[in-house]
Symmetry: C2
Subunit: 341 residues, 2 copies
């Protein structure tokens, strides 16, 4: 048997923890027999959940962690003080090499801080970006960054572009992925100070397929595989996806209930429409990797159900099997970017 890919899972994080998280783990184990999972959290709670399932108990273990970091806690403090929380204990498993990946649907802030502070950056990486997938009419794209770098520097955006490209190539099998920088117009001379400074750096970067500016309007149509921006803009993009689709779905539903005729019509299209909207939903695309760390850290959506959580686990498998971290290390050591460590 091939060597197992060992994944630490935050059993306590997210709106639907622990039930949906643990169900997602069980489903992943039965779908892919090269996964081993360390469920990190309050052991009695985990044991109780596990007791309702049948599973290969050689590929699952419980790692007790008595504390839980709540969503609203200030992340730096939480990581520093709650040494026995599921996030800190899980990340330490990655740091110590006992696991290759850590997945959490818990506090984004705590995951970002823990990733940097506990797991640590690859030498040369200035700031690790959080890179969620977003649905497009062609498939999906990667937005780098949606994490903590709200006042990013041009050199950081260049690294985001490189790491994003490697990820899309290795994990998603996209040959020569296109890279665009979010801008207010298509022309090179447009943009704020950050974009204007970054644009020429991306243009002369040899190891990415930079296609220039991308206006936000084009993002949902999949104009680029890798979308580069600072985390403030990335956050606005991700949340506009959520907001506009859910508002629009709301008004459509209302319109379907408006008369007897539309109710009948609605009944006829319901199943297909649901499927369509699910395909165009951000949560379908598993978790967001925190790129540029010494181990893999994946942030699953806070409201992940078992299905989405399972997908985040599957992403870890591809990430590990494709040695993305090794590739990032090589790519950044080849470049002339200053060592940020």
């Amino acid at each position: 048997m091939a060597e197992l890919i060992k994944i630490a899972v935050d059993a306590m994080g997210g709106d639907n923890a622990p039930a949906e998280i643990i169900k997602g783990c069980i489903d992943a184990l039965s779908e892919n027999d090269s996964i081993h999972i360390s469920l990190v959290g309050i052991s009695e709670v985990i044991e109780k959940e596990l007791s309702s399932y049948q599973y290969d108990n050689e590929r699952i273990e419980i790692v007790n962690a008595t504390e839980v970091i709540e969503m609203a806690e200030p992340p730096v403090n939480a990581i520093r003080k709650k040494k026995d929380s599921s996030i800190v204990v899980g990340m330490n498993l990655v740091k110590n090499g006992e696991c290759q990946a850590f997945v959490s649907a818990g506090s984004t802030g705590a995951v970002l801080v823990g990733g940097q502070v506990i797991v640590g950056r690859i030498k040369g990486v200035e700031r690790p970006p959080l890179a969620p997938h977003v649905p497009t009419t062609k498939g999906f794209s990667l937005i780098v960054d949606c994490g903590a770098n709200v006042d990013a520097k041009p050199s950081q955006l260049v690294q985001f572009a490189k790491m994003g490209s490697l990820y899309m190539k290795s994990i998603m099998g996209i040959e020569n992925p296109t890279v665009g920088i979010v801008n207010v117009g298509a022309e090179e001379e447009k943009g704020n100070a950050l974009v204007k400074e970054t644009f020429p750096l991306l243009k002369k970067c040899p190891d990415i397929n930079f296609t220039g500016s991308i206006e936000a309007r084009e993002i949902p149509f999949g104009q680029c595989d890798v979308i580069v921006c600072d985390a403030f803009v990335g956050n606005v993009i991700i949340k506009m996806y959520e907001g506009v689709s859910s508002a629009l779905v709301g008004v459509i539903k209302e319109s379907l209930m408006s008369s007897a005729k539309t109710k009948i019509g609605g009944a006829l299209i319901k199943t297909d429409l649901k499927k369509t909207l699910k395909n165009f939903s951000a949560s379908e695309y598993g978790g967001a990797p925190l790129l540029g760390l010494k181990g893999l850290v994946v942030k699953a959506h806070g409201n992940s159900k078992s299905y989405e959580f399972k997908r985040a686990l599957m992403q870890c498998v591809s990430f590990a099997q494709n040695n993305v971290n090794e590739q990032i290390k090589e790519s950044l050591s080849l470049s002339d970017i200053q060592d940020g460590n």
Copy 2:
């Protein structure tokens, strides 16, 4: 008869000029008898269009302008060199007091530059913001700024909040409109440098109803009446509205064509669905005012048809009747903000 409100119209600007622009003007004239329109552009072209309509020729005049500023032209150059373009000639009508407002569906850049350079700022206004309306599940909100201030300063955002509030109160009749600043989380300590600096200034600003941070996800649900941000972020918001809705509508249409059953369902809901989507479309909400100028300048959407253009003209009427400029002047002279002129 009450005094006429004189509006200069760029007859040559926009994807559907001159036909739809002129039709919009004719419709506005017949809807509201207090409007007078000066159609600015190549007179032969305008005359030919007008010849197919019946209208009150005391309330419409043609002002010849032989040049046209194209969408792709660098705006500063275009405004400087094309002195006989419809945009420059139209704005001069406002500057000289011959018209109270100028409306164009042409180049946004040229309208922004012309507004500042030709019409000029109200004393005390640092930078005039472009403030489009966006649809929400409750009605609509105003995004300030989506114009040229991509690297805005905190003091400018405070002025945007004030001008936006006055606009929503005067034109839209919203008593005590709520004001939110776009942010990556709800907490006060979150944000990039600009937001962190602006937040306390907005908090202590006495003449607005500041409700704190707003996450982009909440914008389509109408959580605030006035949404304050720099123009880079504003542009991303507006274009994500357009992109996500049109991508989503595309996949929904495809799903409706997928089987005989869904086709029948689709036929039953088509009319109501169209109406719903139209109500949730950004173009429904007329034009975007450029706030803080000595006269009113309104940018209509580039692809405006006659209906949308007519709405932009109606906005001018409310703006003029409510003396919004006078109110902005008063509000800014009462405040302790430095004179930016």
